[in-house]
Subunit: 303 residues, 4 copies
């Protein structure tokens, strides 16, 4: 194998490009056999999730102005109460991924999620960029995040979603060492699958995400990065309905990621409400947390 340091990608030998592609890869699908695929013979599994980031993505970038802080605060103060009420109304148990710093800013938030039937899971320490960390640093920060959430809720989280869905060279090893049952940060499929570590089975379940099923890419405003909320929310709602309808048609998983400081605005909750009405107008819908979904598909790991 040639030293790759000074090479252009088109000069890489096969070992090099295969190494990159196969470092972390999708293994077997964990979609249970039909029929009786989902609990209660449901036809589709719906896994809603919220990343309770608030001020941390700005803090992570060192952007600490009162304006940026207030934008995040909106999610906790104005968006979250409405979201929790809405989830109650539609009986939609969901997963909340909360950075430890956010959990510390309001120590009652994570316990409240549990009380209302939702899942609390790990989302980093301060929404850090794991790709800039050493293995030891990444392990330490995520370990501390597990400790904070466990101490606050009395329950050790079984799942992790990495901040910004970033995945460093070390992330898979860290996820293994911390004993998580599942990760929800990658996107090689619509349905759950087992993660492979350089071709080896890991026993870790991946519940895949997608930028399409995320409110942030097209609704977020990042003033100095040229990002604007150009997508009309009602059009985004149609995309999500189309994603759900296709999942329903094949009996798969419809997974969705949102943020209280983004979807929690009045003109956007209209869309989430409408989506839940659409979903609930179908028979055979299993609304579940990511943790319960992972537990349900876990037997597939043993096959």
């Amino acid at each position: 194998m040639t030293d790759a340091v000074d090479q252009q990608p088109w000069q890489w030998d096969e070992t090099t490009w295969r190494g990159h592609v196969e470092k972390v890869r999708a293994g077997r699908s964990l979609l249970p056999d039909a029929p009786h695929r989902w609990p209660g013979d449901a036809r589709v599994a719906v896994a809603l999730s919220f990343d309770s980031d608030y001020e941390t993505p700005s803090l992570r970038d060192g952007e600490t102005s009162p304006g940026k802080m207030a934008q995040g605060e909106y999610g906790r103060r104005a968006g979250l109460p409405r979201i929790l009420e809405l989830l109650d109304r539609w009986e939609a148990p969901s997963s909340f991924y909360i950075p430890a710093v956010c959990a510390l800013l309001d120590p009652e938030e994570a316990p409240r999620y549990l009380e209302r039937g939702h899942e609390v899971a790990v989302h980093g320490w301060i929404h850090e960029r794991n790709t800039q960390l050493s293995f030891e640093q990444e392990l330490e920060l995520l370990g501390r995040a597990v400790d904070v959430l466990t101490a606050q809720t009395g329950v050790r989280p079984t799942g992790i979603r990495t901040p910004s869905w970033d995945f460093s060279e070390s992330t898979l090893e860290v996820v293994k060492q911390l004993g998580f049952a599942y990760d929800s940060s990658l996107m090689a499929d619509d349905d759950p699958y087992e993660l492979l570590d350089r071709g080896e089975r890991t026993g870790i379940i991946e519940i895949p995400v997608e930028w399409i099923r995320d409110d942030a890419p097209v609704l977020m405003m990042e003033r100095f990065q040229g990002l604007r909320p150009y997508m009309p929310p009602r059009q985004l709602g149609q995309i999500w309905k189309d994603e759900f309808d296709a999942a329903y048609a094949v009996g798969g998983v419809f997974q969705l990621t949102m943020h209280p400081h983004i979807i929690g605005h009045r003109s956007r909750l209209v869309v989430l409400d409408d989506l839940l009405r659409h979903i609930r107008s179908h028979d055979g819908v299993w609304m579940t947390t990511h943790a319960d979904l992972a537990a349900h598909v876990a037997p597939g790991l043993a096959r």
Copy 2:
């Protein structure tokens, strides 16, 4: 506390990240108790505002080409007369935030706002970036802006909206020293709240804004920054209607920010006209200036 100078945000100690988050923060909500929340037992408060920036955002950036100047001039020459006529027609008292340089370019503009029942309030000297100023500089520029508007109208403005909604480390202190009753630049809620200064009550009312309820983010053209008016105005109108409808449903505040050189174009005023028709088709709408809204909720500060 560790010296934070060379630290990454994920290395900050708790004092550091709490310090950033809690520097300026939302205190108690100033939404009056229901019923009889709004004057005349209205069900919703509607606070429209216009930032009469014209040439100043370009000047502020040192972009002084005749093309940029003409783009701003359009707002004063073509957009504003139509807007004033439209506000008259719908009986919609509004708030106009005008940089002092704009007020000096047409000394009859600010008085005309007052004559037609609108509010005149502070919007910086030349739409400066306050985050690049020292405390003394920021105080001096805003003080001069107050003086210009007071001299022109005979009334001292009670409110401020910072240029671009920027908030420096000094802004809150400057707002306090200049004796403003309210600020309208932050976004931690949909309804008015009291600003906290490192946890301490300030007696300053915040009437929050949002990029969603602003014409600039999705309609502005910034040729060399990659910003384009990708949002069809009628779709933006639907978003604003959704914001209003939700405010109406809960009896809250619907606040909106526009710019004469942006919304004042023919194909966009169609949308504002349509929004006002929608609002006026409801019973129990209190259309008000930001100053009157602040005065109405001010008793909540004493609780």
Copy 3:
């Protein structure tokens, strides 16, 4: 007056900021008095225009790859013949602004415009950025452009639209020295006006343009600048209809700028065809070239 070299804009004295704002400015409106405002007692004036840039904006930036060249070539080869047929069908005399280099690449193009009842006018030498030129260079390039078009068509053009609507410190003086009757590059109004040179009348007519009434900002693809055609063309068509309708309502001017290599694509000409059907469904429409519009409003200069 303080030396402005090292000053921030918020430190400028009044002479400085007034100097920037008043360098080139809108003077009196040249909208004729109503009634009998337009020829044949029409209710609205419609001035369509096309900037026949083709390869030149890429050449101007030194982007000379065959891919970029082919993108421009599309306009001349595929787009233009369809546009000319469509304008014939709707009896819509229009103005074509063609860089001299484009005119030289196909010497039959400019004469063909004239033969079909359209106007040929100046659009720079190679779509150069005039803001990077000295006064002498700008004068020389535009003078050569006038000569090329005059030689090809036998008619000296009376109008200019600067490339990219850029306006240097020298542009107005160059326009005066070359004896143009009108310019169409600025945007301080919807209706024609007289240009002022530091407050002095110039006798030059401005027929204003706007990014809103231009196909390029929201339909152009610039791969490495992050610009994408995010606006669905039919939505853009609605915006243009709204602009026309409002112009019709007040008896003003509806001016539109397009590019054969942008609007000339099949899915976009649908929209132009639909717009012309909409316009032609109204009584009292005066479809005219910019030159004829300028000539019609020119008596207003003498008032």
Copy 4:
């Protein structure tokens, strides 16, 4: 001819700007004469294509994170099977352009395309940027790509689409030396044409592409480049229908480029399915591969 090294484009002499424009240029149209233009007297030719890039655009840029790899893997694992089924259902033979590295990652993929009646054609080695290569490097990489596909399928590909539709100074010569019958990377027309090499006929057929008829520009997410999927897929579907309808009206070619990792998502395949339903609802549609289209128009080269 002046030395062009230190010149600005507006200083170029005619030889220089003509040289850039005429380097690679569209020659005669290869649209067959009507009537009997298309096989079976069809009224329109429809040429669908898919660029099976998967992980290679990221690899090409040295972005090798597990997250980016998973995004590409989605196309192979989840998107492609659905696409193949959908093409079967609508009886739509299509062209698949696959980088050699992708073909090597799944050696059964290219043969499977052939088995199902589709075309396999060249799309570079690792989706390299040919503009950064020497002539020898470009020739060597594309030659190797031809060899890989030929070895896997037993058929030598007759067509090439360059990665990202890039065209270096050498590409046309490389295409000629490797004996390709057609290229599909340029965009000077909607219908096939002969490529000219500095004015000389080449006998190479160009089947033109367009960013408008490509799923990537408006649906792709490039997190750190500010690209977001702002276009609602159903609106994109309307644009493609408009392109087809216009091609049908004049009896031309409707060509479309998609990517399994972009269009292959559930909410987007709805649109492709709907487009194919629309196309199939017309009489006289010839659905064909690019290779068969090239073969059909090739006699025009001899005229």
